[in-house]
């Protein structure tokens, strides 16, 4: 995995190589093995490399022999060997074994439509010298990030926003509309980012830049066409074969591949398939918590022992989370509502120290096959709303969120009140997500009136949905919202790319193989959630692969302890939560935060909402100090590779 950056001017003025070097140096943690630059009149490309495939031949920026095309590429094209064979059969000659060179030949062959041939996770930029045009693309589901700005008289892009900020011409201002989005959806809605003037290329989109003009085109988005075309057994068999092949492709690497193991169904399946494919003993890694409410280490060890993997665990406490949060925000470049990215940051550090650069993980299965409780919740709420007078239907709400004890201490009447839906609500395209968004939006009561007014000035910001969205069944609608928003905006970024690449670790996601995703999009909904049995078809496909105790256990989502010590133990928190700091920034109301801090200190803050609020306030403060005011230094030391400039 790597980091990429670049500058394109509308004319042929020279690019300042030193400035370009600063951009790539800002993200060299993504690719600590080697950093190289390419500058030509009007364009500069930069690459920080994490060497995984074709260690000697895969150096970037890579240019075709005729000098017409150059590329910087972050990610992996997992089907590159098959694509290479096809291209060779069409008469193309290769000089390396890398997937990077495959991109250049594919572009030469198919132009912008090359993306349709790719099975992988990517963000890349190809400079087409004869056309004086930059082509930029991001993978279908948003595994790899790509940010850009046209501020400062040029088109600048980078894998992370800090690469853009390395150029002093790019302004640093918090976007309050983006904060409002985050305090609703848990993430910003691309192209908006937390910073004014900095944009994110949305997943499934490509863009071109020529003569200073930027054009963006969507080439893919999640779509659902469930149809009954075969028996349940045939679906199960097909899924098993697809997953095995998705894992096989994701083991393609010239360095050893490990696996994350959470103790749940999804990562147990990917680890089991990887263990079968590697031939030797797979190395697995997991997070253990001292707090038994979150700890799954017993289950993790059971699976590791059953699969006979060589297993390592990283123990994480609430104090660890408090300690690393500033570094985590530096890497995620966004406020956070939950602390869950922090343990994953510690996990990737341990993986890297163990000598691994690549891991296979189970993310994506809950979105693709319908595993989250939000799908179950929507189904039950809809069922209850269809017969509001029923006394028995609300008892189904007891099946939700078994890991939230306070919810289960409630009476049926309260459960019904919490999850109630009116007849009008059922018509909403966002029915499934309204409770989550409403609950999260309560944090906005901490915003100052000025901040609220600035956010409100932009008007309502509903997520974009496709033309056919309303014709899909409600389960597929809910899946779309998860796959198009939270998956790229939080799971694959704050909990994925950003915390893994903080330590130069590349995560690979078999459940997000395009063939698996498209298989699931055609799967009858009843096979995703059979009555209230989530990920039904995946559980069937997992039979014999993993222990029955894991295959049949209730969904236990990955959760991390709250940073209980934020308000009392961390110096940075005391500074950031202080009234004078809040007054200076003008984002959150000092008196409201003071009341929240008192509640935390007194041990009266027992709810998710209070913990989300303090995490949001603190992480927004960290973001401002690290990126806008630049008054806080990051403690996390990245490994910087020497810069090797290439001028053509």
């Amino acid at each position: 995995m790597c980091g990429i950056a670049g500058i394109v001017f509308a004319d042929s003025r020279p690019v300042d190589a030193e400035r370009l070097a600063d951009m790539i140096a800002a993200i060299s943690h993504r690719g600590p093995d080697e950093t190289r630059l390419l500058t030509q009149p009007g364009v500069g490309l930069a690459h920080a490399r994490l060497s995984i495939i074709d260690i000697d031949g895969g150096r970037q920026p890579m240019t075709t022999d005729d000098g017409r095309l150059s590329v910087v590429f972050n990610g992996e094209i997992f089907n590159y060997l098959e694509l290479r064979d096809e291209l060779v059969a069409r008469g193309r000659r290769f000089r390396t074994r890398s997937d990077t060179e495959v991109l250049l030949h594919l572009y030469a062959e198919y132009g912008d439509r090359l993306v349709e041939h790719l099975n992988g996770q990517w963000a890349f930029a190809i400079w087409d010298e004869p056309a004086r045009r930059l082509f930029v693309s991001r993978d279908r589901l948003g595994v790899r990030p790509l940010f850009y700005t046209t501020a400062g008289g040029a088109f600048r892009f980078g894998s992370e926003i800090k690469a853009l900020f390395a150029d002093v011409n790019v302004p640093r201002r918090l976007d309050l509309v983006a904060l409002d989005q985050l305090l609703t959806y848990w993430c910003t809605l691309p192209p908006r980012t937390m910073f004014e003037g900095v944009e994110e290329l949305p997943p499934g989109h490509s863009m071109s830049v020529r003569d200073g003009r930027v054009e963006i085109r969507q080439y893919w988005q999640p779509s659902f066409e469930p149809m009954e075309t075969r028996s349940e057994a045939e679906y199960v068999e097909e899924l098993r074969a697809l997953l095995a092949d998705a894992v096989r492709l994701r083991l393609r690497s010239d360095v050893p591949v490990g696996a994350y193991l959470s103790g749940g169904l999804d990562s147990s399946v990917t680890s089991a398939l990887a263990q079968r494919a590697v031939g030797g003993r797979l190395r697995t890694f997991s997070i253990a918590f001292d707090d038994p409410r979150f700890d799954e280490s017993a289950m993790q060890r059971d699976v590791a022992s059953w699969l006979r993997t060589a297993h390592d665990e990283v123990r994480c406490t609430s104090a660890d989370i408090v300690r690393v949060l500033p570094d985590v925000v530096w890497h995620t470049e966004t406020p956070l509502l939950r602390t869950a990215p922090a343990p994953l940051f510690l996990l990737s550090r341990a993986v890297r120290r163990a000598g691994f650069k690549v891991v296979v993980t189970g993310e994506g299965a809950d979105e693709v096959f319908g595993g989250y409780d939000i799908f179950k919740e929507a189904k039950i709420r809809r069922f209850c709303a269809a017969n509001p007078g029923s006394r028995r239907r609300p008892s189904l709400l007891r099946r939700l969120y078994p890991y939230l004890p306070t919810l289960h201490q409630q009476s049926d009447a309260y459960l019904q009140a919490f999850f109630k839906a009116g007849p009008d609500d059922r018509q909403s395209p966002f029915f499934s997500h309204m409770p989550r968004w409403t609950m999260t939006s309560r944090i906005k009561s901490f915003l100052t009136p000025d901040a609220r007014a600035a956010a409100a000035a932009a008007g309502p910001q509903p997520p974009a949905v496709p033309e056919h969205f309303r014709s899909w069944d409600p389960f597929c609608q809910a899946q779309f919202l998860e796959m198009a928003q939270l998956l790229p905006g939080y799971i694959l970024s704050a909990q994925g790319d950003r915390v893994a690449l903080a330590h130069g670790v590349e995560a690979r996601y078999p459940f997000l193989d395009v063939r698996v995703v498209e298989f699931a999009s055609r799967l009858p909904t009843r096979l995703k959630m059979k009555v209230l049995n989530e990920k039904y078809v995946l559980k069937q496909a997992a039979a014999g692969l993993i222990p029955e105790s894991v295959r049949c256990r209730a969904k236990q989502p990955y959760r991390a302890p709250d940073g209980d010590g934020f308000a009392t133990t961390a110096d940075y928190a005391r500074e950031l939560l202080a009234p004078e700091t809040l007054q200076r920034d003008g984002v959150f109301r000092p008196e409201a935060v003071a009341a929240l801090v008192r509640k935390l200190r007194d041990g009266r803050a027992i709810g998710v909402r209070d913990h989300m609020a303090v995490t949001a306030v603190l992480s927004t403060g960290l973001l401002l100090e690290q990126f806008v005011h630049r008054t806080r230094r990051v403690t996390h030391a990245s490994v910087h590779a020497p810069v090797a400039p290439v001028h053509r």
């Binding site: 009476s411 309260y414 009561s445």
Partner: protein, 92 residues
């Protein structure tokens, strides 16, 4: 005004509204705390802890229903009923 209204309103303002400008004032005595987005499952438990400590009543599991707890007026009436029950069960 019911004597419990003021401390109840203050508790809600401090713990669920965090001094949100105008919010405590605009919350009517009969307004649903759930519909106003103020109470979630942990909020109910916070509220129960406050009732027991502040008003010296015991809240049983079967009392945990919105009919008893979901507005300032319902809470005040619930406190009255619990206090009356306490008197009723004293030995003759």
């Amino acid at each position: 005004m019911h004597p419990c209204t003021r401390p109840l309103r203050q508790f809600i303002a401090d713990n669920f509204l965090f001094g949100e400008p105008g919010a405590a004032e605009s919350l009517g005595d009969g307004d649903s705390l759930i519909d106003a987005g103020l109470i979630d499952s942990t909020g109910v438990l916070e509220l129960v802890g406050f009732l027991e400590q502040e008003f010296g009543i015991d809240v049983a599991d079967e009392d945990l229903v919105p009919e008893n707890l979901d507005s300032i007026a319902r809470l005040a009436a619930f406190i009255d009923r619990k206090r009356a029950d306490r008197v009723d069960v004293s030995p003759e």
